[in-house]
Every structure is written in structure tokens, then in C-alpha cells.
């Protein structure tokens, strides 16, 4: 049984006209789709969530484990001998963490040698990135932006976006939740695109 995966967001065009001319023509809406998609990938590529209020993406597991163990190393207490033994054990665990968890595993290093621990960018093979796309709605007044389809990549995308799995932290890249929005840099970009369109309409009206 296939599971419908919804990792999409609807961006509605401005329902407004100037002198009977709709502001959101197909060209403008297409432009918004293109620039917002590019802007999203730019932010994600630098470890920044494109969704307002979600900040930078949580570190990958290797680094989270390593940080946890290093913090424990710094806060050791007890006798000198006890601390020495604990320190040795923790250092071994740190080495294990740094090579035993994503993306520091042998498998990842062999098959995806370009994958780095930072920035956290949701990019391994690049498939998820390539699948981020947009479509105009039938009436041309809005776009649906996100991952289309019901396959493994769509599932991975949903898992990142929702944080529904306990072993994978939420790394939100689409504002699919109620009240969510893109980061200010992207919403300002959309305003600029509309501004250009409105300028064009006024130019024609003033001829």
C-alpha cells in the first residue's frame, strides 16, 4: 500500500489587480517558484533552515555524540585515579563516536567521499535536493513547492521536515505547518518579485 507523503507548501499569488490586470501572472509566479527554490537550496547548503524560527540545522549524529562525550570529559569529578580511568574510557568512546556515526561511518566515507560533517545540509547523494521543485496550480494563481511523489526520497524528506523519528532530529526545510513561513530573506525576495511585476504594470498604464 503506497503512503501519500505530503511535503509541499502552497504559495498563493496576491489576489489583487491593478486597473483590472492581475498582479500574479504566470511569469511572476514562475519566477517566485524558481527564486524561492534556489534560495531554499542556498540556505540549506549553508546549514540554515529556510523556515522562519528554525535556525540552523541540528548537528549530525557523529558530532552530537562527540560533543556529548567531550562535555562529559570536561565535567569529570571524583578521585585522581578515578578521573584518569574515566578520561581514558571517554576518549575511546569519542574516537568510536567520531567514526561510528553518520556521516563518519566507513560506508559513507567510501560511497560518498565528498560528504562533510559540516555544514549540515541534507545532502548526501543530492537526490533530495534535486527533487525540490515547484508546480503552478491549474489556475496559474499559486505554486506548490516541495517534493512531489510518494517514494523513498519523499519519505526521507518528510522525516527531516517533521522530526517524526526519534533517531533523526527535525531539520525543517519547508514551512508545511500552520502559521509557518519562509525566512525573512526569502519572503523579502518574493516581495521584490511582486514589486517588479507591479512596476511593469504601472509602466504600461502610464504609456
Amino acid at each position: 500500500m503506497s503512503v501519500k507523503v505530503k511535503v509541499k507548501v502552497m504559495l498563493k499569488g496576491i489576489e489583487q489587480k491593478i486597473n483590472s490586470v492581475y498582479i500574479h501572472d504566470r511569469k511572476t509566479v514562475n519566477e517566485i517558484g524558481r527564486f524561492v527554490t534556489e534560495g531554499m537550496l542556498d540556505a540549506m547548503g549553508k546549514g540554515l533552515s529556510p523556515v522562519r524560527g528554525f535556525g540552523r540545522f541540528v548537528a549530525y549524529k557523529a558530532q552530537r555524540q562527540s560533543s556529548r562525550l567531550n562535555a562529559a570529559l570536561k565535567s569529570l569529578s571524583g578521585s585522581k585515579a578515578g578521573k584518569r580511568i574515566a578520561r581514558q574510557m571517554l576518549k575511546k568512546e569519542i574516537v568510536k563516536a567520531e567514526s561510528g556515526y553518520y556521516p563518519e561511518t566507513t560506508y559513507i566515507k567510501e560511497h560518498y567521499p565528498d560528504k562533510t560533517t559540516r555544514p549540515v545540509n541534507l545532502k548526501l547523494s543530492g537526490e533530495l535536493w534535486e527533487r525540490i521543485d515547484y508546480e503552478l496550480t491549474q489556475d496559474g494563481k499559486a505554486i506548490e513547492l516541495g517534493i512531489f511523489g510518494y517514494d523513498k526520497i519523499a519519505t526521507i524528506a518528510r522525516v527531516h521536515n517533521t522530526g517524526e523519528r526519534l533517531d533523526i532530529p527535525q531539520r525543517k526545510f519547508l514551512p508545511t505547518g500552520k502559521g509557518e513561513a519562509f525566512i525573512i530573506s526569502l519572503t523579502r525576495l518574493i516581495k521584490d518579485i511582486y514589486l517588479n511585476r507591479i512596476n511593469d504594470i504601472i509602466k504600461v498604464l502610464n504609456r
Binding site: 549553508k46 535556525g55 560533517t117 525566512i183
Partner: protein, 219 residues
């Protein structure tokens, strides 16, 4: 927007920015400006730093020393000056509201590291890679322009629109008088753009056939 104060100590390195001390704004407009500008600057700093570039006018990030570049690459990190090793310092980048604007900086235990790069203290021996504006400095022009737009847009959203007066307008001069009263601290170009970005104002001016007075330079 200017830097009115910089702070550097064990738990904070920040630049305090005056966004609107010379403007007459409602409390809600001020709150909105602080939030949006703060978030926008945080995003722009992270986006620039991610490219190993400074968001500060006149500043640049020198490339990593060869030995440190190799050290980063040996630790499975990109060998570029993106100020990210564990990511903790950039995670601590934030902003706080002040009376007339915000302060943007790194707060908490990562402040020392951030001063290593920004050198507000004058004590850093590292190559300067400034991502916060120091005294007398500004963000790059395109960032400053957008901050200004955020301020004007917030004014447009909060200002009381004299609908009855606008209905009576017949000439450009009459419209300009009204707009200058509504936006006393801004240029015509800034006012014009703010109107075009504001659905309510745009609709009102269109309804009364007044958009023709917002001249556009013909291409």
C-alpha cells in the same frame, strides 16, 4: 542604521544598531522592525559566512592558512574560511531588542571565539574575519538597503491612511503632500516602493486612479 555601541566580554560580543531613534513610530511598528531586521541580519550573516565572505562593507575573509586548511580537511570539514568547526559559535549568533533597535552578536560561552574572528577587543592574534560591524562600520550596501526597506514597509503597515483625503486628490502635488505627511522621514523613492509593496495602499491608490502619479522611469 548605524552602530551605536559595540560590546565585548567573556559572555558577549555584539554590535548595537540604531534602527529608528529619529523616526516617529508606533510601538507595534518598532516591535515588528526589531524582529524582522534582527532575523534578516542573522540570516544574511550566516549566508555570507557560509560563502567564506564577510557581510561587512570593506571587510573580507582571508583564506585559511595551509596547515589549518589541512587540519579541517583531515577532520572531514570543508577547507574554506566559513568559521565552522563544531558549528557552536554560529549556532550562538543571535539578536536582542534594545530601546531604539537591536544588538546582534554572539552571546554566551562562544563569545570569546567570536572575538577571535572579529577582534573587537584588539587582543586577537587570529586573522581578522569580521562578521559583525565594528564602530563606524556598516553591513554591505545590499543588506543596508533591504533593512531600510523593512523599516519603511513597517511604517506603511502601521500608518493611519487618510482615506477621505486620498479620495479628494486630483494632482500629483496633492498626493505627495499626503504621502509626505504619512511618511515624514523617507524619500519619494522609498515611499513609492513601500506603497507598491503594501496591498492595502496599492489597492486604495489604484481604486482612485492615483498610481499614475507614482512615476516610473520608462525603459
Amino acid at each position: 542604521m548605524e552602530v551605536v555601541k559595540t560590546t565585548v566580554n567573556e559572555s558577549e560580543i555584539s554590535s548595537e544598531l540604531d534602527l529608528f531613534s529619529d523616526l516617529s513610530l508606533t510601538a507595534s511598528a518598532k516591535r515588528k522592525i526589531k524582529d524582522e531586521v534582527g532575523e534578516y541580519l542573522k540570516e544574511q550573516i550566516l549566508l555570507a559566512v557560509g560563502e567564506a565572505e564577510s557581510p561587512i562593507s570593506g571587510e573580507r575573509f582571508p583564506a585559511l592558512a595551509k596547515s589549518y586548511k589541512k587540519f579541517k580537511e583531515d577532520n572531514n570539514l570543508p577547507g574554506k574560511a566559513n568559521l565552522e568547526f563544531t558549528g557552536a559559535m554560529l549556532d550562538a549568533l543571535d539578536f536582542k531588542p534594545t530601546t531604539d533597535g537591536i544588538k546582534i552578536g554572539v552571546f554566551g560561552s562562544e563569545a570569546g571565539k567570536a572575538d577571535g574572528h572579529n577582534n573587537f577587543s584588539g587582543d586577537s592574534t587570529l586573522r581578522k574575519r569580521r562578521f559583525l560591524p565594528g564602530d563606524g562600520q556598516k553591513f554591505k550596501e545590499e543588506i543596508m538597503t533591504e533593512v531600510n526597506r523593512i523599516v519603511v514597509d513597517a511604517v506603511a503597515e502601521s500608518v493611519e491612511i487618510p482615506v477621505a483625503e486620498i479620495k479628494e486628490v486630483e494632482t500629483k502635488a496633492e498626493l505627495m503632500d499626503i504621502l509626505n505627511d504619512m511618511f515624514p522621514d523617507f524619500s519619494f523613492a522609498e515611499i513609492r516602493e513601500a506603497i507598491l509593496r503594501n496591498e492595502e495602499l496599492l489597492e486604495l491608490l489604484d481604486e482612485h486612479n492615483l498610481l499614475q502619479f507614482l512615476n516610473v522611469r520608462k525603459s
